[in-house]
């Protein structure tokens, strides 16, 4: 955030980090291009290269627990994928190794590794976007790039409503426990305990939505003469990067379609 002083002087006093001068659309296009590159080939070396690039991007920006959480879940799934495809992939022919009499096949393992690498490329590149852009930055930038302010409001208000809803849920759960709702041990008891929490929660949420909607109308949100908030961020090379990355995406999609047609 800029201080009042920097606003007066017009020049940012704090030196921006390299990832702060890249605009959100460029980062999103980067996710698209990296994904397309990863899907363009089954070459494991290329996949490893892409993972390395994405990891470096993350290492030189910020590391956050959200990326690790996303990685944790996917790594587990990739693990099960390696086992299932290694054992049962339809094109399995060459036995690579055997554990306790169970044979793992080369073809299935390579197939699962390729898929796993693609997932990792997407998660790591998205992780870069997640940790380097804030909600307010996205909102301001999306509006500046021409998205209607109503759509931006819908997108961004979710991020502000969620913590409020989680608080409401905990409050309702506690209240139901105090009133002595069932002990939630068996599956049926658990399912039964969902309704007394969800009904008040949904009604409360929709009630708050109604109140919010009325206050939006009263504040003249539909007013056509609304002033657009100007962004305080300075982005570098946005146009060039957008054109370059979009061009690459079109090329990759075109090449994929071309090779599919020729392959048939």
């Amino acid at each position: 955030m800029m201080t009042d002083q920097t606003l007066i002087s017009g020049a940012p006093r704090v030196k921006l980090k390299w990832y702060q001068v890249i605009d959100p659309i460029t980062k999103l296009l980067l996710i698209l291009d990296m994904t397309l590159l990863s899907f363009a080939s089954t070459n494991l070396l290329l996949q490893a290269g892409l993972i390395l690039v994405a990891t470096l991007l993350l290492l030189f920006s910020k590391l956050s627990s959200t990326t690790f959480k996303a990685l944790g879940f996917s790594l587990f799934l990739i693990g099960t994928m390696l086992i299932i495809q290694g054992l049962f992939y339809s094109r399995n022919q060459t036995v690579l190794f055997s554990v306790l009499g169970v044979s793992f096949y080369k073809e299935g393992l390579i197939y699962a590794t390729t898929l796993g690498c693609r997932v990792l490329v997407i998660i790591l590149t998205s992780g870069f976007f997640m940790v380097t852009t804030s909600i307010s930055e996205n909102a301001a930038y999306l509006e500046l790039s021409g998205l209607s302010y109503k759509t931006v409001y819908v997108l961004m208000s979710v991020c502000y409503i969620l913590p409020e809803m989680m608080r409401n849920m905990r409050k309702i759960q506690q209240a139901q426990k105090v009133r002595g709702t069932n002990p939630q041990k068996t599956l049926i008891q658990k399912l039964k305990s969902v309704l007394p929490v969800l009904i008040p929660l949904v009604i409360k949420t929709l009630d708050q939505s109604m109140a919010r909607s009325i206050s939006l109308q009263l504040r003249g949100f539909d007013n056509p003469n609304r002033t657009v908030r100007t962004s305080q961020r300075v982005y570098r090379l946005s146009r060039t990067l957008h054109i370059g990355l979009t061009g690459l995406a079109i090329l990759l999609i075109g090449w994929k379609i071309w090779s599919k047609i020729n392959g048939l």
Partner: protein, 200 residues
């Protein structure tokens, strides 16, 4: 009966009014919280489409589809990037619920069951190609995936195994969510139902 169908011609009418603008984030929030609740109680279902169901029932298929889409985009950009691609499934669910509700298929407990099956089919049909592209056909849920492994081991085609894996999980989830949405919708105050419907 509170769940009288919306007039057919008004089903696809959509305007991003102040009411829908606040309903969509609320629906996304409900999806998120219901999913967290199911995970917290270790239920074998996701419940993550409850908000999409309610938005479709209250404001029509377009509002439901937008809620589903935004839900997966936000979820993808904050927690699990791959779930962004399943936004297409959520759009399908939103549209299916909206059409079924507008045609009176959420008016009685028996009809809700049939609706749930149709929605589960829609969801599984859209999700299967995505599962095959990204996860080799798996869904990431242990018992569904064990079914997948057994089928693939017995030389069943990957598409069929993946569809079965997805469908058995979807049918359980969508039946639970459809009944939850049905009961909750009936509990909603009339002023609320009319507020989100009439404002279009």
């Amino acid at each position: 009966m509170k769940t009288e169908p919306i007039h057919r011609t008004s089903m696809w009418k959509f305007k991003l009014s102040a009411a829908t603008m606040t309903l969509i984030p609320a629906a996304v929030g409900i999806n998120y919280v219901a999913k967290a609740l199911a995970e917290g109680l270790k239920l074998p279902v996701w419940l993550g489409s409850l908000g999409t169901f309610l938005a479709s029932m209250l404001a029509g298929p377009v509002a439901g589809a937008i809620s589903g889409f935004i839900n997966n985009v936000i979820y993808g950009l904050t927690l699990s990037p791959i779930s962004t691609v399943y936004a297409i499934t959520s759009i399908g669910i939103g549209i299916a619920v909206g059409i079924l509700h507008a045609n009176g298929w959420f008016s009685s407990a028996r009809r809700v069951f049939i609706s749930a099956i149709i929605i589960a089919i829609v969801s599984a049909v859209i999700s299967t190609p995505l599962n095959v592209i990204f996860w080799g056909g798996q869904t990431g849920i242990a018992w569904g995936d064990s079914l997948f492994a057994v089928m693939v081991a017995n030389h069943a085609p990957v598409w069929l195994a993946s569809f079965t894996d997805e469908f058995v999980l979807d049918i359980l989830d969508k039946v639970c969510v459809a009944y939850l949405a049905f009961f909750i919708y009936r509990q909603l105050p009339q002023r609320m139902v009319h507020f989100f419907r009439d404002d279009k």
